[in-house]
């Protein structure tokens, strides 16, 4: 189906896309949202556990996609559950991608206008962001992947640097005791934390682009384990700096972590601008891939070229992004989209996998005698 040979992705490119899709705005609030649920310093265990669940879900998605080589979810869902139900599933997923991308834009605008460009109207920030991403996604999957390959190493490098610097205000006592209240609290935060791993669902579409789809499992596992390490470092550093009592009072704890110390004598004494710039790049990549996945789905479902959908979606994304009236509504919408993703990508692929196995067997059984 993906006829353009130039659009083929290598395994590492697929992994990079998964990493960049997962690492979005979630990392900025993850320490708070997870501690709110867990209430003990054991959130880091939750982060690891949730990562493993995400891997499981990711592998299910890959196994499902591998049964239908060269086709994306939008096409093979019709094969599994019939045309109309399949199209409905397709639209659900497209709706999810649209909401995710719109939300990313809004998060980006909120953080940027609060910490970085106070006074610049939100629409101005968003416009520039949207137009640049339109320019990127019109190129197709391969340019997106190459762009991500540039963004990722820069993010990793500076993220690690900034995290290490925050050791200055790190207190090991804030992370103790380990499992002081038993294992129960760890599970309490599992759902919230698992949501921050959403992004691996891109494999529903990505498998069809890969030049060696057999290695898709590897791509998704690597793609989840790197964000796992990122999340782990973030949660440990933020809780170690603020303690669980302090984390819950900060709206954007990860940014406040960097704002809470100064490195006198170094070229940059303050790193939050640097971190924010990096994170805008990460949000940009998350946005681009979700935007492309939604447009690509529409083009496949309607059997038309992708361009009109790319142009058409852009104003829609802007409108959705600007719909929530305040930050509270943004966070509430984020929760809604997160819950939807739990059903869409935790449950649906598993159901489809079981149905497809069962139907294929039945077809075999009816045709063999």
């Amino acid at each position: 189906m993906i006829d353009n040979e130039k659009n083929r992705l290598t395994t590492s490119q697929a992994a990079v896309i998964v990493i960049n899709f997962i690492l979005g705005s979630g990392i900025l609030t993850l320490p708070r949202t997870s501690v709110e649920k867990v209430h003990t310093p054991d959130v880091w265990i939750t982060v690891i556990l949730a990562g493993f669940f995400a891997m499981l879900a990711g592998v299910i998605i890959v196994k499902l996609s591998q049964r239908f080589p060269q086709t994306t979810f939008y096409q093979y869902s019709q094969e599994i559950v019939g045309k109309w139900l399949g199209i409905a599933c397709g639209f659900l997923i497209i709706g999810y991608f649209i909401m995710t991308s719109a939300l990313q834009v809004r998060y980006m605008a909120e953080v940027t206008s609060f910490y970085l460009l106070e006074g610049t109207p939100e629409w101005a920030i968003i416009m520039a962001f949207l137009w640049v991403s339109l320019y990127l996604v019109t190129g197709g999957m391969q340019p997106i992947a190459r762009m991500f390959e540039i963004i990722l190493p820069i993010t990793v490098l500076f993220f690690l640097l900034v995290s290490l610097l925050s050791l200055k205000i790190f207190e090991i006592d804030y992370l103790r005791p380990v499992l002081g209240m038993g294992i129960q609290p760890v599970f309490a935060g599992l759902r919230t934390t698992a949501l921050s791993y959403s992004g691996f669902e891109i494999m529903l579409i990505l498998c069809a682009f890969m030049d060696t789809p057999s290695k898709a499992t590897k791509a998704v596992l690597v793609g989840i384990s790197i964000p796992l390490v990122f999340y782990l470092i973030t949660v440990v550093m933020v809780v170690g700096a603020f303690s669980i009592d302090g984390v819950v009072t900060r709206t954007w704890p990860t940014i406040d972590l960097i704002r809470s110390f100064e490195m006198t004598g170094i070229l940059f004494e303050r790193f939050e601008s640097l971190l924010l710039v990096l994170w805008i790049m990460q949000i940009f990549s998350t946005f681009c891939i979700a935007y492309y996945a939604a447009s690509f789905g529409l083009s496949q479902l309607f059997g038309k070229k992708i361009r009109p959908f790319l142009y058409g979606l852009l104003p829609l994304l802007y409108l959705i992004a600007m719909t929530p009236k305040d930050l509270g509504q943004v966070f509430a919408l984020g929760d809604m989209v997160g819950n939807a993703s739990l059903i869409l990508f935790g449950g649906l692929p598993l159901c489809l996998l079981i149905i497809s196995r069962w139907r294929v067997k039945r077809i075999d059984a009816t045709s063999s005698p």
Partner: protein, 423 residues
């Protein structure tokens, strides 16, 4: 090239020229020399300055009740610019402006009616609160705006001032910024055990939300000079000023927490009553909580290694292990006395745990902690605490010879005297 193409190219050129023009400036740029760069601020009980009173008399008033006087310290760009080549009268490096009112944010905005540039706060380093104000208002209310603010960084440090807080932001020295001066003093932790680790806004939020009592560095000022003296106890429940630990108490507290990085300990030799000074090289303490049938107790083991750095005892010989043992014992006794004194104050006088006993209990016995944490300070007052102090004197500096040679020469001298006497 067809005319159509030419027109398209012209259009594109115009469009890109327009886009380039729009890229030349920052959207919300402000000239840095026009801005009031705030480096420090102080909060006092309301006492409007004469200027303010006069302005208000002439109609410069708005509906408010006078509760708090906020003093903002700005860098004076005129003074710093002229430095070195000054011909006229020297200007101070800073400008302190006070405003009185009830809402801190509104007070800050009132400056916009008096100054020509906007206030720029990301470089705000210190906030000094007067003891009197911290006694009458909750700290979480006083500092709420600064914790919400997007300009002020959570790395900003908080101090309490025994006297008027605005006095702590004054300096006599030419070209010195008092706010940065305070910041500089916090770096001296390796030289004294009478400093507490500075509390930033971020840490303060943590303390506030956990409900535990904590300390803030206390400042005293006289004649435009500031000294770091002791610490203010902030009660975890009332969030207000709850007492004062003087320098001596603070020393004891540092020994309990074991967080000291340096400093000296003075003690008197038991035999001679003479001065002995112990310089701390390392300090470590382990607070071990014990829970037996809901009965909580603590055992504190303090270990320290250091040097005999000053000795007024004439008879003592540093090369003699026996004497060093004696010094160790006196020092240990002195530490014991210090920590018991401050423990007594915490339990009887302030009724607040500011040494982190609760924290140790939380880590070792999380389930017990869940039961007692809401009323920890009251429970703490009744908890038995025992101390064990181990001091090791690892060296006595470059000079041990002074007294040894003294002892050797002494008989000779007296012999000389004896011989001389008959003459």
């Amino acid at each position: 090239m067809t005319p159509h193409h030419r027109r398209k190219r012209l259009l594109l050129t115009l469009l890109s020229a327009f886009l380039l023009a729009s890229l030349t400036a920052c959207w919300s740029s402000k000239d840095i020399d026009k801005m009031g760069v705030g480096v420090g601020l102080s909060l006092d009980v309301a006492h409007p300055s004469p200027v303010e009173q006069e302005l208000e008399k002439r109609g410069g008033a708005y509906p408010k009740s006078d509760k708090i006087t906020l003093t903002y310290q700005f860098i004076n760009p005129k003074a710093t610019g002229k430095e070195g080549t000054s011909t006229g009268p020297q200007q101070k490096a800073y400008l302190n402006v006070s405003e009185t009112g009830d809402s801190l944010h509104q007070i800050t905005r009132e400056f916009a009616l008096r100054q020509d540039g906007p206030i720029y706060s990301p470089h705000l380093k210190v906030i000094v609160i007067s003891e009197a104000l911290a006694q009458s208002y909750r700290l979480d209310h006083l500092l709420d705006q600064y914790l919400r603010d997007n300009e002020i960084r959570p790395s900003c440090l908080i101090f309490i001032s025994k006297d008027k807080a605005m006095d702590a932001l004054e300096s006599k020295k030419q070209g010195e910024l008092p706010a940065l001066h305070l910041l500089g003093i916090t770096d001296n932790e390796n030289r004294t055990d009478r400093l507490i680790h500075p509390v930033s806004l971020a840490r303060l939020a943590t303390h506030m939300n956990s409900g535990s009592s904590f300390l803030l560095q206390n400042l005293v000022s006289a004649e435009k000079e500031v000294k770091f003296a002791g610490a203010a106890v902030i009660n975890g429940v009332t969030k207000r000023w709850g007492g004062f630990l003087d320098e001596h108490d603070l020393e004891g507290l540092t020994w309990i927490t074991g967080k000291g990085k340096g400093g000296v300990l003075k003690s008197l030799d038991k035999k001679t009553g003479q001065l002995l000074v112990y310089e701390i090289k390392t300090m470590d303490s382990t607070i071990t909580p014990k829970v037996e049938k809901d009965r909580i107790s603590f055992e504190v083991t303090i270990k320290s290694e250091g040097r005999l750095s000053e000795k007024w005892v004439t008879s003592g010989d540093p090369f003699d292990q026996g004497f060093l043992k004696r010094v160790e014992q006196t020092t240990e006794a002195e530490v014991q006395q210090l920590v018991r004194n401050v423990t007594n104050k915490m339990q009887k006088q302030f009724k607040a745990d500011v040494a982190g006993f609760g924290n140790r209990l939380r880590i070792e016995y999380p389930r017990t902690w869940e039961k007692v944490k809401t009323d920890w300070d009251r429970t703490f007052c009744t908890v038995p605490i025992s101390y064990a102090v181990h001091v090791t004197i690892s060296d006595f500096g470059a000079s041990g010879l002074l007294s040894k040679s003294f002892r050797i020469t002494l008989p000779n001298e007296s012999a000389l005297l004896l011989r001389k006497k008959p003459e």
